[in-house]
């Protein structure tokens, strides 16, 4: 396999915690501009995979490359974020004690050192960018409210908005529609598809309707390695997948 045209390249990655193999010889390749859905039962290693990609967990073995030639195992979270990988957590994580607008302001692409942050003024370009993102995530009417006061779904969107503000090349989105109403789910699918037009995206999700709505290639993980890969129909027809989901 060539790494050349990939945005993310995992080969033979393994990691274990206290003897438990969370990720076992996992290989996964994502092309530039691709959107991929990852499914798998609980404990399949989905979140751990994201931890590895974003630098939170170091793999015991294997290669992790970003954008063809950047070895991610040599960088920490902040570096990786600056390289252009954005991550949304399973549980919506926003700055609850800041207003919605400040949440985006802190996420905007730009220098990440202390002194500029201490003395910087908000530029018109930044204002424009924030307005644009508000248009995408449709939270403009709440911009002055505390993030804590948002509904669960709105927090999910805000977090996606924060990812967009970062302007990453690759977005890792962990269960974006958990706890959302059907209408919100639909809206989220639309939002992600819109994002995927300009970014590479990995979506981890349990909700099959949502995955179907995305209409992208699906990877099913089980016990830390890839069980099946292909279209959703192909994967859901795979007997082994049915087995791990339904039990024997």
């Amino acid at each position: 396999m060539s790494k050349a045209n990939t945005i993310l390249y995992l080969d033979g990655v393994s990691v274990s915690f206290d003897g438990f193999r969370a990720i076992n010889n996992l290989s996964l390749v994502l092309d530039k501009g691709e959107m991929r859905a990852i499914i798998g039962p609980n404990g399949a290693g989905k979140t751990t995979m994201m931890d590895i990609v974003t630098g939170k967990t170091r793999p015991d073995a294997g290669e992790v490359y970003f954008d063809g030639n950047v070895d991610l195992t040599r960088h920490d979270e902040a570096d990786i974020a600056m390289l252009g990988i954005g991550r949304k957590f399973q549980k919506p994580t926003v700055f609850e004690n800041h207003c919605v607008e400040d949440n985006l302001l802190l996420s905007l692409k730009g220098p990440r050192s202390i002194l500029p942050a201490l003395f910087s003024r908000r530029s018109t370009a930044e204002n424009k960018r924030i307005d644009d993102i508000f248009d995408i995530i449709r939270l403009g009417h709440r911009r002055g409210d505390l993030a804590a006061s948002l509904s669960h779904g709105q927090k999910q969107w805000l977090e996606i908005g924060m990812l967009l503000a970062q302007d990453p090349k690759l977005l890792l989105v962990d269960e974006p529609v958990a706890g959302m109403t059907d209408a919100e789910t639909e809206e989220t699918a639309r939002l992600l598809k819109q994002i995927a037009e300009t970014h590479s995206v990995i979506v981890v999700e349990h909700d099959m309707h949502f995955v179907r709505e995305l209409g992208v290639k699906v990877t099913c993980l089980h016990e830390g390695s890839v069980l099946s890969e292909g279209s959703l129909d192909f994967v859901s027809a795979d007997e082994r997948v049915v087995e791990v989901y339904l039990g024997r």
Partner: protein
């Protein structure tokens, strides 16, 4: 050993079995008499002795008293033994009226008098009518030496052994003959060995021939302790020729073996310090480690345990002095209950409103600790309270060249027992299971029918109760004062955090390693720098392992 003093642990390595040696008793008595005979030409008769004793009345300074003691000692009469013992304990009196000498026992404001030689009761006199014959250290030493000579013939092997030790430490060539006699009559091997060592030390100072001295060097070097080392090195400094060489060799050997023992001694001190740390920290490992309550009042729980011990001992002293040796055993459950109850009250009254806000528990329990300290100060006063040590915990014994004190040994054993018990409670009992269930997943536990508030309260009470029984043990080595707990709180937090919060084994290993580390540093750096270095090492260690020694690994769910 002060004759007639408090019962001290038998220093004999192999337990003396007087009954076994009944058959030799006659021999021993005979040897004693023989010895007496060699010390003086003729046994002084009683009248002569009384005359000597009467001299105490005129002896108005220590030197004069000392002279009388020496004279009495020189008589070699067993009759003066009781008299000298009494003198060294400060219970020999002069009756002001007629300058007569008596042994006296204080009974309230009066003194019951006994005859100094035959011990017959003579009557009771008010204190004002008597003058006590003062003794000081020098005099006590002289008396001890005098008794050493006298007691070589004692029936009790332990007393003979003590006598041999005294003579060993104060070698005098003039005693060689007496020692020879004693060795010849001695039936108990361990005592005989000590007598031979005492003789050897005397030989080194005598003008006996080279062969004798060579043999003496051998005997001393086989003893291989600090005393024999210093005697040999002193001898080496003055000796010449082959004697000097062989003394030097012996010194080198002893030095080497002592250095090894020193390592062992440091390990023991470290374990002993570690077990003190563990005792202090183990309750905190529950309240802080398991429940997440930053319990600044933990030290005060320990203090309450120590004060409970004090109260228990006071009651025992007043009502049943015979039970005193059991006082700690009685105090243990009491302390557990007292501290546990106070802990329960704190949990129900304050802490339960603060769960989930660990840093605020710090504030509230800090307030609680101030109140408890001041309460104790108001009730018991600010000064130290006397917590006695049961006789079975006093003194020390030798294990090879290790000096092990009984109270430290008891604390180590006790600490291990508490730890094992706690592990058992946590791992093997339904209550422990509930406790673990509640701390791991509260809601799940609640829905399984576990009454979580009750488990919280009992867990906190358990942690506090354990702190209380730690207080019982620590009262044996430290001041029992209102500030008692303050001295342990910082160390306890260090231990728990160093070991890894929430892990009992971590606390155990943490306490022991900090204790041993401290004791190995202390000889090189001194106590102050040693402690600073340990603190710095903890800071550095936490950089390396930000969650302590025994951190739980895994995909920690982080917000």
């Amino acid at each position: 050993m002060v004759p007639g003093g408090p019962p001290v642990r038998d220093p004999v390595n192999d337990p003396p079995e007087p009954v076994l040696y009944m058959g030799f008793l006659r021999n021993v008595v005979a040897a004693g008499l023989m010895l007496a005979a060699t010390l003086v030409c003729a046994a002084a008769d009683e009248a002569e002795l009384r005359q000597l004793v009467a001299k105490f009345a005129d002896a108005n300074n220590f030197q004069a008293t000392e002279a009388v003691v020496r004279e009495l000692g020189a008589t070699g009469s067993p009759a003066v033994e009781g008299l000298l013992t009494a003198l060294s304990q400060g219970s020999l009196y002069v009756r002001k009226a007629d300058d007569a000498i008596f042994v006296g026992d204080e009974v309230g404001p009066d003194i019951k008098l006994r005859d100094p030689l035959n011990g017959e009761a003579v009557g009771t006199v008010a204190k004002a009518g008597l003058t006590k014959i003062k003794v000081n250290n020098t005099l006590r030493r002289v008396i001890r030496d005098a008794l050493g000579g006298l007691t070589l013939g004692s029936n009790d092997p332990a007393v003979r052994l003590a006598a041999a030790d005294t003579m060993f430490k104060n070698p005098d060539p003039a005693t060689i003959a007496a020692l020879d006699a004693a060795i010849a009559g001695e039936a108990v091997d361990s005592v005989k060995a000590r007598l031979e060592q005492a003789r050897a030390s005397a030989v080194l100072l005598s003008d006996l021939g080279e062969a004798d001295k060579m043999a003496a060097i051998d005997i001393l070097s086989s003893r291989a302790d600090q005393d024999s080392l210093s005697q040999l090195s002193r001898f080496q400094a003055s000796a010449e020729g082959p004697l000097r060489a062989s003394a030097a060799a012996a010194v080198a050997t002893i030095d080497q073996s002592l250095a090894l023992w020193q390592v062992g001694q440091n390990v023991w001190y470290g374990i002993s310090l570690g077990s003190v740390l563990l005792l202090a920290a183990i309750g905190l490992a529950i309240t802080f480690g398991v429940m997440g309550v930053i319990n600044m009042a933990h030290g005060e729980m320990v203090m309450l345990g120590a004060y409970t011990t004090f109260v228990v001992q006071q009651v025992i002293r007043d009502t049943a002095p015979g039970l005193f040796d059991w006082s700690l055993a009685i105090a243990l459950p009491m302390a557990f209950l007292v501290s546990g109850a106070v802990g329960l009250a704190i949990e129900r009254g304050v802490i339960r409103f603060l769960y989930g806000r660990p840093l605020e528990t710090l504030l509230a329990t800090w307030g609680v600790s101030l109140i408890l300290q001041q309460a104790v100060r108001t009730i018991f006063g600010p000064t130290n309270q006397e917590v006695g040590t049961p006789t079975w915990m006093s003194g020390s014994f030798q294990l090879g060249q290790l000096a092990i004190t009984w109270n430290r040994l008891c604390i180590v054993v006790f600490c291990l027992a508490v730890f094992a018990l706690l592990l058992h409670v946590m791992k093997r009992t339904p209550w422990g299971l509930q406790m673990r269930a509640v701390t791991q997943n509260r809601r799940m536990a609640a829905s399984m029918g576990i009454r979580t508030p009750r488990v919280d309260a009992l867990t906190f009470a358990l942690g506090s109760g354990i702190a209380g029984i730690a207080g019982v043990a620590l009262s044996q080595i430290d001041n029992v004062s209102p500030n008692f707990g303050q001295g342990y709180i910082i160390d306890s937090f260090m231990v728990v955090v160093f070991g890894g919060v929430g892990n009992l084994w971590g606390t155990f290993v943490g306490a022991m390693s900090l204790g041993i580390l401290n004791k190995f540093l202390e000889p090189y750096t001194g106590a102050v720098l040693g402690k600073i270095m340990v603190l710095v090492l903890i800071i550095l260690f936490i950089q390396k392992r930000p969650r302590g020694l025994f951190a739980l690994k895994g995909r920690a769910v982080e917000a």
